[in-house]
Structure formats: structure tokens, C-alpha cells
């Protein structure tokens, strides 16, 4: 019940973020979507994800407001709104139709299907000694994935530092 309230709140905030004229209000509405997502993670009993989502959302909001909002963007308004709306609604309908057939095949919510995941849940504590099972999975059993994620972040930071450096910039 709370989850559906939160989901409808997030949908409303997303619609506001798209439709509102002011850029600052739009960014704040995006922040409301992120806050709703964080609370949804809390309701689904995933506090690790909730903490991460909350702090990353705050950081993204600060970066969006402080570092990019000075340049005012032009609102694009052309006369093709009928074609745009029709194609959007058509694609949403196609997506929902495929999702209806795909979601019927999924197991029930919370039911584990993989034997590997069951092994992690049952013997994670004695194999790694970590009481937070999320940490034991992402840093021990699936450490290779975390290495890939860290590489992505490293590449992103190096890219930003290389593009926006001052040394060697020709005025």
C-alpha cells in the first residue's frame, strides 16, 4: 500500500519535472523522484541501497544546481506535438504489452530461484565472516563485478579531469 502511494508520487514528480517551465523547479522535482525511490528501497527492506541512493541523489542535485544550472537552456517548442505524443504513447503501449508477457514468467516476489544465490545466503557468514550479507556478496563472492564498477568510475573521473584541465588549454 505504501509502496503504491510512493510509486504514484514518483510518477507525479517525474511528470512535473518534464512539464514545468523553470529549470530549477525541474531539478528539484527530479530530486523528489530520487527521494521517493530511496524510501521505496527502505520499504522493500534494502537499507544499503537506500543509503546509497539518498547520498548519490543529494550529490547529483548539488552538481546539477551548482555547476550546470548557470547556463540557461532553451526550451524547444515546435509544432509537432501531435506526432511526438502519438509516437510516445505507441511506444509505451508496445513496451507494456511486451512487459505483460515477460513479467508473467518471473517467479514470485522474494522467492529465490538460483541455487548459487541460495548458497550465498546460507553460508555467506561462515565463508567470509561479514555480517552484512550485501558487503560479503559485492566484495567477496562477486568482487569481479565491483572491480568493473570501480573501473567505470575511475575512467569517468579521469575523463572529466582530462577534458576540463587548464594546463595546455588554448584560449
Amino acid at each position: 500500500m505504501e509502496l503504491h502511494l510512493l510509486l504514484s508520487f514518483m510518477v507525479l514528480a517525474a511528470i512535473v519535472a518534464v512539464e514545468v517551465e523553470d529549470l530549477l523547479s525541474s531539478v528539484i522535482a527530479v530530486g523528489a523522484v530520487g527521494l521517493g525511490l530511496s524510501m521505496a528501497f527502505l520499504i522493500l527492506k534494502a537499507p544499503d541501497l537506500a543509503i546509497t541512493q539518498l547520498v548519490v541523489e543529494i550529490l547529483c542535485l548539488i552538481i546539477l544546481i551548482r555547476a550546470t544550472i548557470k547556463k540557461d537552456l532553451l526550451l524547444i517548442k515546435d509544432g509537432r506535438w501531435f506526432f511526438n505524443t502519438t509516437s510516445t504513447v505507441l511506444f509505451i503501449a508496445i513496451f507494456l504489452a511486451f512487459a505483460y508477457f515477460a513479467l508473467k514468467e518471473l517467479p514470485n516476489f522474494g522467492a529465490p530461484i538460483m541455487r548459487v544465490a541460495k548458497e550465498y545466503i546460507e553460508r555467506g557468514l561462515e565463508k567470509t565472516g561479514a555480517t552484512n550479507i550485501v558487503a560479503s556478496i559485492i566484495l567477496d563472492f562477486r568482487g569481479y563485478d565491483t572491480l568493473g564498477e570501480a573501473t567505470i568510475l575511475f575512467t569517468a573521473v579521469m575523463g572529466v579531469l582530462a577534458v576540463m584541465r587548464k594546463v595546455g588549454r588554448i584560449k
Binding site: 546509497t52 550529490l59 548539488i62 567470509t128 552484512n132 567477496d140 573501473t151 573521473v157 579531469l161
Partner: protein, 148 residues
């Protein structure tokens, strides 16, 4: 502060002076207890970066860059990456990549337990915190230099 024009108003500066240390401590707590309670290296690193960003928003960029300059942030980020990768490679002592190579795992619910997981958390937090702070600082500096 000597130059009152830089940064935000006096109220914001006073509150920031009280809270920024607590935010940094909370980030360190989340990192160090990542294997015991919810949190972990990524979230803790972002909180550490947010404390420096908080300082930069309230006091202007000079104060924050004196605490942690842009090049030092880059060095810390690379250090975290090297540390994480070397922990992974050290697993070859026992045979395979990312082996939890401590023989004694320690008792559960203790701070020094779980083998390599706290070390990995510290490495990831260094990487994420310094990296995100470097991105923010570079964006701010780029904006300021672009105005002229």
C-alpha cells in the same frame, strides 16, 4: 573568516563549522562498519565527498581546496584504485582472483573481522570520495574560468 564576501551568509557558515566534522565522521563510520551494518564503501565515500562539497559551498572554493586540493584528490583516487586492484591480485597467494586470503576470519559482529572486506571498503571509499570531489571541484573551477 577574513573575506566575508566569499561563500554564503554568516548563518550558513556557523552551521557548517559545527556540522561538517560530524558529516565527515559519519562517512568514516559508514565505511569502517560496512561489513557489519548497512552502508559500505560507496555510500561512505559519497558522504565523505559531500562533507568537502559542503565546505566548498559554504566557504567558497579556496577554503575547501586548501584542505584537499584538486591534484591531491586525483592522487587519492588513483591510490584507492591501486589498493583495490592489489588486494584483488593478492588473492593469487591462495590460488584465484579476489580470494579472501586471511586464514582467521575473526568473530562475527567485531570490527576486525571478515578478512579483506574492510580493506576493500576503505579502498573503494578513497576512490569514490576523492573522485567525486575532484569532479565537482573541476566543474566549479571550469565554470568560474569560463565566465571571464
Amino acid at each position: 573568516m577574513k573575506n566575508k564576501e566569499v561563500g554564503m551568509t554568516l548563518i550558513v557558515k556557523t552551521i557548517t563549522r559545527l556540522t561538517v566534522g560530524l558529516i565527515l565522521l559519519y562517512g568514516i563510520y559508514i565505511v569502517l562498519h560496512g561489513h557489519l551494518s548497512p552502508g559500505g564503501g560507496f555510500a561512505g565515500g559519497v558522504i565523505i565527498a559531500l562533507s568537502f562539497i559542503h565546505l566548498m559551498l559554504a566557504f567558497g572554493k579556496e577554503v575547501a581546496l586548501r584542505k584537499l586540493s584538486e591534484s591531491w584528490a586525483s592522487i587519492f583516487e588513483s591510490l584507492g584504485a591501486i589498493m583495490f586492484l592489489s588486494i584483488a591480485v593478492l588473492g593469487f597467494i591462495g590460488g584465484y582472483f579476489f580470494l579472501n586470503f586471511f586464514i582467521q576470519k575473526g568473530k562475527p559482529f567485531e570490527l576486525f573481522s571478515a578478512g579483506i572486506i574492510p580493506l576493500c571498503n576503505i579502498a573503494i571509499s578513497l576512490k569514490v570520495g576523492a573522485g567525486l570531489f575532484a569532479i565537482f571541484a573541476v566543474l566549479i573551477l571550469f565554470n568560474k574560468s569560463g565566465d571571464k
